[in-house]
Symmetry: C2
Subunit: 310 residues, 2 copies
């Protein structure tokens, strides 16, 4: 890792509409969500996790995901994705026009059961069916979110070998299907050195064309920006973050906000890393999001006087 030669570019995947909005107890009006997403696109966001296809009873905040996709699917240059926990969700996502399916499985058995109500093996079996389904639709992509890749709220620290077991099975299922694998620090408890180790070890074992790496982190322990940078310097080409630092996991006790997109952007800009996102406009979007009912945020940059950001 040579910090004097940062990567030329990093893809920021904006997850406020999914991980963020689902963390607000009372579901937001769809019109409010649209306004915020519009502001994010104005800022230059090109990858957006717009929602999820889960049981509305379990996560009512995501019930309008289809409606949001319809509103934004035709924007040129916008790469939309939606999270799904199973084949049924993947089919709904494709039916609603989603071309990039984010399939989530946790590395730890207990978090997978808490999060998607079944065992890791069942999730992997269903992943095989999702992959078969995606192979039938040209131009679709798969992203695999490996939840609790560093820490589980129930089982504690997760070693890279544990991630490797689940990842190995998933990669065997995927075969030559292009894939982005996200190592997710669901609880924010990962340290930068653990992040570096997991990306390095797993990257060594599974390098290959058609396999990209991403990092998803939370700032609960104050490691958000450092973890993201260590990921980027050890193989990740994409990083998830949520504008205004909104977020959490309803099934991971104690997890708070995602790393704020504006904090991450500030760090990357300092190295001349291109992201396509404009900081002042992103902060305008962050202000909108922070003003939502329930929109408590964990952004650092929003606290800085604006005239100091130039």
């Amino acid at each position: 890792m040579n910090a004097l030669t940062p990567p030329a570019s990093v893809e920021i995947v904006e997850v406020a509409p999914r991980d963020g909005f689902q963390s607000i107890a009372t579901p937001l009006p769809t019109a409010d969500k649209r306004r915020c997403i519009e502001a994010l696109l104005d800022a230059g966001v090109t990858r957006l996790e717009i929602g999820s296809f889960v049981r509305p009873k379990a996560i009512p905040q995501m019930a309008d995901t289809g409606e949001l996709i319809a509103a934004f699917a035709d924007r040129p240059g916008l790469r939309l994705s939606a999270l799904v926990p199973n084949l049924r969700g993947a089919e709904l996502a494709l039916d609603h026009g989603i071309r990039e399916v984010v399939y989530v499985v946790s590395v730890s058995e207990s978090h997978n059961r808490s999060n998607v109500r079944r065992g890791v093996d069942e999730s992997l079996a269903d992943l095989g069916r999702v992959i078969a389904r995606l192979r039938q639709s040209e131009g679709t992509r798969l992203r695999l979110d490996l939840g609790t890749s560093f820490d589980c709220p129930f089982e504690g620290t997760i070693g890279w070998e544990q991630v490797d077991r689940v990842l190995g099975e998933a990669l065997a299922l995927a075969g030559d299907l292009p894939l982005e694998v996200a190592l997710c620090d669901t609880t924010g408890r990962a340290s930068p050195y653990q992040v570096a180790e997991h990306f390095t070890r797993l990257g060594e074992r599974h390098a290959g064309p058609g396999l990209d790496w991403a990092f998803h982190g939370h700032d609960t322990f104050g490691m958000g920006v450092a973890n993201a940078l260590f990921a980027v310097h050890h193989g990740a080409t994409a990083v998830d973050s949520a504008c205004a630092g909104l977020g959490g996991c309803p099934f991971a006790p104690g997890a708070t906000g995602n790393t704020a997109t504006e904090d991450l952007l500030y760090a990357l800009q300092g190295g001349g890393v291109a992201t396509g996102i404009d900081l002042p406009r992103l902060l305008a979007a962050a202000d909108l999001i922070a003003a939502l009912p329930g929109g408590q945020t964990a952004s650092h940059l929003r606290q800085v006087p604006r005239d100091r950001l130039g």
Copy 2:
């Protein structure tokens, strides 16, 4: 920078008693300060910036520095330091038994004038006199705090060449006197890549025996932990931080808390980096500090449920 081989150890310099306590508007009772310092020593802190010798009219919060030194100077294994802005302060510090004098000069002319009421050249001339005085007292050390080494609240971004000019003159004055140079991100506006660049460029130009490097940072922009780690991976062997994330600079508008020692410690521990500090005991000290009147803090780890820190 290879994050898979972190340094074996890093010296954490606890600055809550100086940078932290001076940021609380109403001066704290000396007894409260003593209680907090005792808790910090219980946690394993071995380097402590205990206060400063400045005009009590300008910073009344530091008026009891001599009393605090008397209370803790005889602790075995404790490396005490005190900040001074001029020769008069250095003489007072030595008279009170301080063996490590922290001499502060800002790289930017306007911040130096705001902070210590004189130009950089005057500060450097006085540094020459301080060095002459230190040469007369065996066993004394000099630490040079280069304020605004990355950003000035009045002048904006500071390039490494500007730091180099001031540093070069200081090193010429110091000659063979052992010296620790701290690049100080007074406002918290430095990015990790800027930190890496300054340490690398200045380290290349001024490597040598008897010259150590340190980093002093604030978390105002959310870069605190990342900046500290990038410093450590590019030459810093010591890092300043303040327990509970207390701090600011009374003469740097908009600057908020120092990077919290507990956040930094958590990041370093994740790489097996030895610091000698015990996290649970440090959090006990952070609780004490946060409970002080005016002790608003910016610590992340204090917000995490304690049973998640194991």
